[in-house]
């Protein structure tokens, strides 16, 4: 049976394969590494009984805005392992971690307008609501729904470690003071 567990760096090998075989988008490996090294608590994988990765969720925190919130970057489940509730389990695990570890107020995600199956999962099973529509969000020109789900937020404030996570997508750069594009393009 498939298990849901936190991702390790080693899983990236199999996760990238899973991504290639599931989604038209194929992210840079750097992108995965950036996520797991920045918010390791938010990455979960679904592992088959023989150690094969059959699904994953990739998420991050947006902490620069006034309301600290999480964002689901990518969710994938191999076609051969769909209809087993894996996507729901993966999403729930990531959402719980956002709430409990980082005190997220809400969680957001983007979904292709045409992806009915995913849309149904988000709205009906997971309780997301359409917040906005982003025109031509995807590379191929398709619109995206900007969806949100309210979380309970931080119950207590005794951990401040995440306040240091104030680096956005350019955190790979040596220092913030330098221009964004100087270091890595």
């Amino acid at each position: 049976m498939v298990c849901i567990r936190k991702a390790t760096v080693d899983d990236l090998l199999a996760m990238q394969a899973c991504n290639l075989f599931c989604l038209p988008e194929n992210y840079q490996m750097k992108y995965y590494l950036y996520h797991i090294l920045s918010w390791p608590q938010l990455l979960y994988v679904a592992e088959d009984y023989n150690g094969k990765i059959v699904g994953y969720v990739l998420a991050k925190m947006e902490e620069e805005t006034t309301e600290c919130h999480g964002h689901i970057t990518s969710l994938a489940v191999l076609r051969t392992h769909r209809k087993l509730g894996l996507a729901t389990k993966l999403m729930t695990a990531a959402q719980n971690a956002m709430e409990q570890v980082y005190g997220a107020e809400y969680v957001s995600l983007h979904v292709r307008k045409s992806n009915r199956a995913a849309f149904n999962l988000y709205t009906e099973t997971l309780g997301y609501k359409i917040h906005d529509v982003e025109a031509k969000y995807y590379a191929d020109g398709e619109d995206a729904y900007d969806m949100r789900k309210q979380l309970k937020g931080r119950k207590h404030h005794h951990h401040h470690h995440h306040h240091h996570h104030h680096h956005g997508a350019d955190a790979v750069l040596p220092t913030r003071k330098q221009m964004k594009s100087l270091a890595i393009n």
Partner: protein, 970 residues
């Protein structure tokens, strides 16, 4: 030195901003102009210089960039108190130095700055990051401790602790260092406590690494335990620690608690059961505790089933089966009951699946039926049942699968082209069944059908990677490597997949004449790996800054895993060998390449480095088809051996065997460049020796080293040197029979070639007691090459109708041993006729070289003959008209009134377009089905074979030309 507001690197920001903007918008020329202007105003500003260097590097002017950087470094480090030093300047310089592969210079800048401005935390953090980039764990630790002492911050302490852990896990640090780290943490906790969850997990892991499970448990249940914010994570950790401490009863309790919270956590259930059973008291065949423990588990699982009001929970039901299975293993179960339970389970699961689909409002009936049929086929396949079926039944199954796929196409009518279709797996399954039929019957028609089902599938949906991978292997097997490569490229393999997936094509390409494509493949792979290693240090620092300490360790270990990749090592060794092959007709080029490889020692060092360390194997072997579980094994090359040889059973051993072989191969191949270098040298020395007065000093070092390498080479081939010499003479004289073409023979041939080169100087191989026809080692090599090429051609049928042909061996023979032998001849000739002074004073070649000249003459003649033999064979293959080849292949699936044999699957595919009605499958699928051309598939195979043969022919022609050119000089 404090940064002032509105200043950057000591320069007003308004002056620098336009440069930043220009760089941002990639207007480097403009940026350079602005930066030159800035430098005229601030000629001695390290920051202005650093900016210029950065722009130059961006423009690709690396040398200029480096010299500007060095200038800046000099100014920074000359102890002038007027020079402005800050982190912005240093980190900008750091970026450029890093890109220019001079990390050490960036480090020394920071080291200098930290001495000049002690206790400056910002600079110290910069220095820490420099050490992180250099993986200098000890220095990392020292600077982190300094920062901790100054600021007293928890994170700096943790940086130091991580650095210590890295010394033990990835460096040469002794385990007692853990105690030091533990002590540091303890002291800090006593005075300040701990505030970060990651800090706690580092602390726990530190204790775990020292097997102090009790201490770890105590901390976890104490005040610090509250740092673990996710309750189930904490329980999981507790359970694991208890189990490792051997307290299985308590561990089982914890896992039971965990299961109550997460009833669908299968992993947790297995641990629970494991703990119940791992108690030593049950290991004694005393059944009492076993029974009571099992009934305890049964009760608990029943409770979970009742409590799980959510119908989609599967774990308790599967857990029930697992318990019954364990009972059976213990000799206390009831097999019939297990079967009954299994049935119940499947009924339940398929009911659930159905339920989910109904909720989602999708079609349930036919999709469900299709899914069930596929499951049955898959189970049959995975328990190896298909291997025991008679041919006719097996064929029926392939037909059923194909038919089922076609009939159900209508289910995918509404789907987008990018979405997987219903029943897609049927074609992969049909393919593997057809390949098995081919293996059993050797009827080419089945092989063709196995390709056709996949091409048919790809015509309908071109994204199915499973089909593509199978095709890569089938086309490679059928000598249509260019077509295999095309399918491989369509997989769009990039990033880390280059490490996990490229093994599907790389080995075939290495033994092929497709040098341009191979060179691309190798370059792309190396670029990815090297870029990653360059970037990974930056990423490690990211984990430090985000305080994800456990990820620091994991990530450095991951980097090591990639760095020790067997494939990476192999590619680093094969890339220069390819260059040598490509340029083997030009000895000056060969020398140039060897020069850049530090005279061939580079590869040697690579393989020496890896000895003692274990290589990692990151290829995704599960994606490979059953008939080739590893790159060096292909069941189709041997006869079908019945059910007992069911490949699946042997996979594990096969993988282990392959991993051992890879080590040997890598070491063997790493010797080649140096042996070629020494052989060239030895050959030219042998001429000079003759030219100069008798008794001139021959560089005996060369001879000795070459002998050492030859001995190492034979040792890898499992032979002592002397026996190896006997063996090659045996081969050449015909006393030892040639084995069937095998990679080993290429190794032996290479050995003979270098043996000859060595013997030119050492004259150690004596001939008195050997076969009189082998009068010299020259003769030995010539005879071996000729005989083996002849033998390989003799047992190689027409490429078109002989899948698994020996063509790759032939290619290797010509492009390796034969090519190296020719290089040695070139070397002799060059020494005999130094360019510029073709005629030496006193007439032509020295008398003493007559014997050598004679040998060379014979060798050139022999190599020309051998090469022509290959060319003749290649031309025969190429001269056969394509239509004739087409007939030969295509007729294998035309049934023409036959009742048995291949063709049934093809018939279904062929008639599918007429059977499918537009209304049923929709215009897209209908169009695709109509576009599929079976004749086109066959023609593509033939074209692929043709282009492979022509590439090889071209190589042979060039080789022949270059040999003839040498002959003219004689």
């Amino acid at each position: 030195m404090a940064s002032k507001f509105g200043f950057a690197g000591g320069i007003p920001e308004r002056r620098v901003r336009p440069i930043w903007d220009a760089v941002d918008s990639r207007q480097f020329k403009n940026a350079l102009k602005l930066s030159t202007a800035l430098l005229s105003k601030y000629p001695n500003s390290p920051y202005a210089l650093a900016l210029k260097a950065l722009i130059l590097e961006r423009m690709g002017k690396n040398e200029e960039a480096l010299s500007v950087c060095l200038n800046a470094k000099e100014i920074l480090c000359n102890n002038d108190s007027n020079v402005f030093v800050d982190d912005l300047t240093l980190s900008t310089l750091q970026i450029v130095f890093q890109r220019l592969d001079h990390l050490e210079m960036a480090t020394s800048c920071y080291e200098y700055a930290c001495t000049k401005y002690p206790n400056n935390l910002e600079l110290m953090m910069g220095l820490f990051s420099c050490y992180v980039r250099e993986y200098s764990f000890v220095k990392q630790q020292q600077i982190a401790i300094k920062m901790y002492k100054i600021a007293g911050e928890e994170r700096f302490l943790l940086w130091a602790v991580c650095s210590i852990q890295l010394q033990v896990c990835c460096g040469n640090g002794a385990e007692k260092l853990f105690q030091l780290a533990e002590g540091l943490l303890k002291k800090h906790i006593a005075s300040h406590g701990l505030h970060e969850p990651e800090a706690l997990s580092v602390y726990i892991s530190l204790l775990e690494q020292q097997c102090k499970y009790g201490d770890a448990l105590e901390i976890l249940s104490g005040k610090l335990g509250a740092l673990m914010m996710i309750e189930v994570d904490k329980l999981r950790l507790q359970g694991r620690l208890l189990a490792r401490a051997g307290d299985y009863v308590a561990a089982a309790d914890v896992f039971q608690k965990l299961l109550e919270l997460c009833p669908d956590d299968w992993e947790c259930f297995l641990q629970y059961l494991g703990c119940l059973l791992e108690d030593e008291s049950i290991l004694i065949k005393d059944t009492d505790p076993f029974d009571s423990r099992m009934s305890q588990a049964v009760d608990f699982v029943r409770k979970l089933m009742v409590e799980a009001n959510n119908n989609s929970v599967r774990c308790p039901y599967l857990a029930h089966l697992e318990i019954e299975r364990r009972k059976l293993l213990f000799g206390k179960g009831d097999a019939d009951k297990v079967v009954e339970d299994l049935m119940q389970y499947f009924i339940r699961v398929s009911f659930l699946k159905n339920l989910v689909k109904e909720c989602e409002g999708s079609v349930s009936g036919p999709t469900k039926e299709l899914g069930q049929s596929i499951t049955v086929f898959k189970i049959q396949n995975s328990i190896g049942e298909l291997f025991s079926l008679p041919v006719n039944d097996l064929e029926d199954i392939a037909v059923q699968m194909t038919e089922m796929f076609c009939k159900n196409l209508s289910l995918s009518k509404e789907l987008d082209a990018q979405e997987s279709m219903h029943g897609e797996e049927l074609l992969s399954l049909a393919c593997t069944v057809l390949v098995q039929l081919f293996w059993r019957t050797r009827d080419l028609g089945y092989l063709l059908e196995s390709i056709m089902v996949l091409e048919f599938g790809l015509a309908i949906r071109r994204y199915v990677w499973q089909y593509k991978i199978l095709l890569v292997h089938l086309y490679s097997y059928w000598s249509s490597l260019p077509l295999a490569y095309e399918r491989y490229k369509s997989l769009d393999v990039k990033n880390i997949l280059l490490e996990t997936v490229s093994a599907h094509i790389l080995p075939q390409m290495l033994a092929s004449p497709l040098w341009a494509d191979l060179s691309d493949l190798l370059r792309e792979y190396l670029k990815f790996m090297d870029d990653h290693f360059r970037e990974s240090a930056d990423l490690t620092f990211l984990a430090y800054r985000h305080r994800n300490y456990s990820k620091v360790i994991e990530f450095v270990q991951f980097k090591e895993r990639l760095q020790h990749s067997s494939q990476y090592l192999m590619v680093k060794i094969e890339a220069p060998i390819l260059q040598l092959k490509q340029n083997s007709n030009n000895i000056d080029e060969v020398e140039c390449i060897l020069e850049s490889l530090r005279c061939g020692t580079h590869s040697l060092e690579l393989s020496n480095e890896i000895r003692g360390k274990s290589l990692t194997f990151n290829e995704d072997l599960k994606l490979r088809p059953w008939w080739t579980p590893t790159f060096d094994k292909n069941y189709l090359l041997g006869p079908f051996e019945g059910v007992s040889s069911c490949p699946r059973e042997n996979t594990h051993n096969q993988i282990k065997q392959t991993e051992e072989n890879v080590l040997k191969t890598v070491e063997k191949r790493s010797l080649l460049p140096r042996m070629i270098y020494l052989s060239i040298y030895s050959a030219s020395e042998s001429v000079k020796e003759n030219l100069e007065a008798n008794g001139a000093v021959v560089d005996s070092k060369i001879s000795l080293e070459l002998k050492t390498l030859l001995e190492r080479y034979t040792k890898i081939l499992d032979f002592p040197f002397q026996d190896a010499v006997e063996l090659v003479f045996g081969f050449s004289s015909g006393q030892k029979p040639f084995e069937a073409p095998s990679p080993d023979m290429i190794d032996w041939m290479n050995f003979a070639v270098f043996l000859n080169a060595w013997n030119l100087n050492s004259h150690e191989v004596k001939f008195s007691d050997r076969d009189p026809s082998s009068t010299s080692t020259w003769n030995l090599v010539n005879t071996m090459l000729r005989k083996y090429v002849m033998e390989t051609i003799r047992c190689t049928g027409p490429v078109v109708s002989s899948p698994g042909s020996h063509l790759p061996f032939l290619v290797q023979l010509v492009t390796e041993p034969l090519a190296w032998h020719a290089v040695i001849i070139h070397s002799c000739m060059r020494s005999l006729h130094p360019s510029g002074k073709k005629k030496k004073k006193g007439g032509s070649v020295d008398q003493s070289n007559t014997q050598l000249l004679h040998e060379i003459q014979n060798s050139i003649q022999s190599l020309c003959d051998t090469t022509e033999m290959v060319m003749k064979w290649l031309r025969e293959q190429l001269d056969t008209p394509d239509d004739e080849k087409f007939e030969a292949i295509f007729s294998s699936i035309l049934r023409n009134g036959r009742n048995d044999g291949p063709g049934k699957v093809f018939k279904i595919l062929e008639s599918s377009s007429s059977l499918i009605k537009d209304v049923e499958v929709g215009p897209r699928i209908l169009e695709a089905v109509k576009s599929w051309s079976p004749a086109g598939d066959v023609r593509k195979i033939i074209a692929g074979q043709r282009s492979l043969l022509s590439e090889f022919l071209k190589i042979c022609e060039l080789k022949l030309k270059s040999l003839q050119a040498v002959r003219v000089q004689l």
